[in-house]
């Protein structure tokens, strides 16, 4: 049975929020977990992080940025259309505990995924500061949502069109000077997660990153999502996606994410969805 899209709204150019009816996948969903979707009958399986869910209504909320063929096909669908497959929740939940002060950093579509983590950390008595990073103002996602949950939210843009001019690490550096921070979670592009981890390592602040490795089945069966953490190979799909940022081999992840770029270009050329 295909999975209907109930709502769609455009958050930024090439980036949408969708509400999908997938009741089975919501039943056990925890912050930090993800789903795998297949958009069309001839489609590939891609992992997507979750920015919210409603168990009673059986709905999931996803933020999708068009980067390849499958995500482009997905954002071109509308409310009333169907997605071929949705399976989840997959992966391990985020490390939710009572830390004290937590800084949650979202870059691009990764901002969606920090929302449920922020909500749960606050419920556990933490102080939560959100940082949203984007290139420019119109690409800042979910700011209002995050402001309605977090104790404090900061924005950074490369061009200074909103918030601090610079990178999320510039904002993080400022916060680290102002107050003690006990946990940092960064979700977004690999260079951002790497930069955050480099900044927090000498300060010994617990830092989690969510690794968006290439996946096929998402249940540990294939090993496409192999990542090196602390010198050991781990499967991001069943042992992650969250790992200790101080232990991750980010450079390897970047190379492995690029493995199929020539194929993605070819698939994109043949896409009628542009």
């Amino acid at each position: 049975m295909p999975y209907p899209i109930l709502k769609k709204s455009e958050l930024a150019p090439n980036t949408v929020m969708m509400q999908i009816y997938a009741p089975l996948a919501t039943k056990k969903m925890q912050p930090g977990q993800f789903v795998i979707v297949r958009v069309t009958p001839n489609g590939e399986r891609i992992p997507l992080s979750i920015s919210g869910w409603d168990r009673d209504k059986g709905t999931l909320r996803i933020i999708v940025q068009a980067v390849g063929r499958t995500s482009t096909e997905l954002i071109n669908l509308n409310a009333g259309d169907f997605i071929e497959d949705v399976v989840g929740p997959l992966g391990q939940p985020s490390h939710l505990d009572r830390y004290g002060t937590c800084v949650l950093i979202g870059g691009g579509y990764g901002t969606g995924a920090i929302i449920p983590i922020a909500r749960e950390l606050i419920a556990r008595g933490n102080k939560v500061i959100g940082i949203i990073g984007a290139r420019t103002k119109e690409l800042v996602l979910m700011e209002d949502d995050l402001r309605s949950i977090c104790h404090r939210v900061e924005v950074s843009t490369n061009d200074g069109s909103s918030g601090t001019k610079g990178l999320v690490t510039d904002v993080l550096a400022g916060i680290l000077k102002q107050e003690p921070v006990h946990m940092v979670t960064a979700i977004g592009p690999v260079p951002m997660m790497k930069a955050v981890s480099i900044m927090t390592r000498p300060l010994k602040i617990k830092t989690f990153v969510s690794l968006n490795a290439i996946m096929v089945d998402g249940t540990g069966m294939c090993g496409a999502c192999r990542v090196e953490v602390g010198g050991v190979t781990r499967f991001a799909c069943i042992e992650g996606p969250d790992f200790d940022g101080h232990q991750v081999n980010f450079d390897e992840l970047v190379y492995r994410q690029k493995m199929y770029i020539p194929y993605e270009k070819k698939a994109m050329e043949l896409c009628t969805c542009k």
Binding site: L24, N42, Y263, A267
Partner: protein, 485 residues
């Protein structure tokens, strides 16, 4: 008719060859390699089965098929009857006729085989099952009246499908939960179409649906729902048939370079996601000009032969023991060699070397020699110091066997497993350490064959049937009891 030919004459009939696609043709397609027996050929082969034989073959079969029974039906021209009698023991004869290791089972102990080639039991099984499928007159098997009992089965591979058919026939309401978007398990993602065409599997799955079995895809038990949730939803017993399916790697330097896959990933991309049809299908599969397959089991042969069919690639299988110890079925290695796959025996990789883009370009290997037999009885390989050499490779497929997937174990406290995560069961009933939970297939062995999984699933189905509370007996049984009064 049987009886009109003497056993002496039967012994004179030569084994009937099953024609197959020529290697140079088939290596360019994914169509099934052997064509199967034509009707008159099957008739001739069936005459080789002796009359009045003690049929040691039946004991050689993990599901105890009445082998002479179905072969004599073929000889009598009752092909549909032959298929029906096969299905009494094995719902999936078209699959087993193709992928069973008959040479190690029924055909190994065949009486005719003592003086020459055994009766081609597997080919005849395939013939009867295909005849029925092609005829379009597949009938739902006789089923007991509904018992109202609900049973959940986890996984739709060989164990799950067999368990479902056995339990549905007993009148129980069966629901299968499948993690992937399509049912069939390893039959669909693992075994290539040139060994097992997809319509064979789909026919069997359609039959299960006709028998009232419900299949829910995109449900990862242990994640989407737990086993406790299934009991809460009213299922009275659970059969775990999730398979092995956690690929092993070697933990040697460079193993995470791009272009290095597990056999499971490579086969899943091609078989399940149809990457051979890229870009019409969106899932790609990266394949270079020289593919190294590490390991020589059946999965390794599937990967090697699949790679040989894509992109005109050169494929070399690297195996650390000698030809004698190669673990795959002899016919698989034979087929692979015919298709141009090369074998480098007594050779093991020691590290992989990549280029500036992190793609594998070279593989360092070491030559091995065989020492004394180890615990498994096989001579254990040991490296020859200083024999290292480098081969140019740009794709590596690791086919080193499987560990057990941890998802169910992690989500099911109290489920006893061994150190490797293999679920511990009572071999007679499939019963696990949790009341009402049974298991069958690779999850209880750590990795075996389709037919072994089916044999275990049959036992577990019987175990479940006997486990279900007897206070409300199935109606038919009740009627019998009433009739006695």
């Amino acid at each position: 008719m049987s009886g009109t030919i003497s056993n002496k004459d039967r012994m004179q009939i030569p084994i009937q060859v099953m024609p197959e696609q020529a290697p140079e043709v088939r290596v360019k397609n994914f169509t099934e390699v052997p064509f199967g027996y034509a009707l008159e050929v099957a008739l001739e082969e069936s005459k080789r089965c002796l009359d009045g034989c003690k049929a040691p073959c039946v004991k050689g079969c993990p599901v105890g098929i009445d082998i002479p029974g179905f072969i004599k039906k073929i000889e009598a021209g009752d092909f549909i009857g032959a298929a029906k009698s096969l299905k009494k023991y094995n719902l999936l004869p078209a699959i087993c006729g193709r992928v069973c290791p008959q040479q190690e089972q029924c055909e190994l102990v065949c009486v005719v085989g003592k003086k020459g080639p055994s009766v081609a039991i597997g080919r005849l099984e395939r013939f009867a099952a295909d005849y029925e499928r092609m005829s379009g007159i597949i009938e739902v098997p006789d089923m007991e009246p509904p018992t109202g009992r609900r049973i959940a089965i986890i996984g739709s591979g060989p164990a799950g499908l067999t368990g479902a058919s056995e339990l549905a026939r007993l009148g129980h309401k069966v629901t299968i939960f499948e993690a992937l978007h399509r049912p069939g398990g390893v039959l669909v993602y693992g075994i290539p179409r040139f060994r097992l065409p997809i319509d064979v599997i789909d026919t069997e799955i359609e039959m299960l649906k006709k028998m009232g079995v419900e299949i829910i895809c995109n449900a990862v038990i242990g994640k989407t729902l737990t086993i406790d949730d299934l009991f809460e939803q009213g299922y009275e017993a659970v059969l775990i048939g999730t398979g092995a399916g956690l690929p092993y790697f070697m933990n040697i330097p460079g193993e995470n370079l791009c272009g290095i896959y597990s056999a499971n990933e490579f086969l899943t991309r091609v078989n399940l996601m149809r990457a051979d049809m890229f870009p019409d299908n969106i899932t790609p599969v990266y394949l270079g000009k020289h593919v190294a397959v590490i390991g020589a089991g059946n999965t390794a042969m599937d990967a090697a032969r699949t790679a040989a069919r894509l992109n005109n690639t050169k494929v070399t299988v690297y195996y650390r023991r000698s030809r004698e110890e190669v673990p795959c079925l002899p016919r698989e290695m034979e087929h692979a060699e015919q298709e141009g796959v090369e074998f480098k025996l007594l050779t093991a990789p020691t590290r992989f070397i990549g280029d500036e883009n992190y793609f594998v370009r070279e593989m360092e290997c070491i030559k091995m020699e065989l020492g004394e037999p180890d615990a498994s009885g096989r001579r254990s390989p040991r490296p020859i110091p200083g024999s290292e050499f480098i081969d140019k490779v740009d794709t590596v497929i690791m086919a080193l066997g499987f560990g057990v997937n941890p998802i169910i174990k992690q989500a099911t406290p109290g489920l006893e497993t061994d150190k490797k995560g293999v679920i511990i069961v009572d071999p007679a009933t499939g019963k696990t350490s949790i009341d009402g939970v049974f298991a069958a297939g690779d999850i209880i062995t750590g990795g075996s064959t389709v037919i072994q999984a089916m044999g275990q699933a049959k036992k577990a189905a019987k175990g479940i049937h006997e486990y279900l509370p007897t206070k409300t007996l199935p109606t038919k049984t009740l009627d019998k009891e009433m009739a006695k009064i």
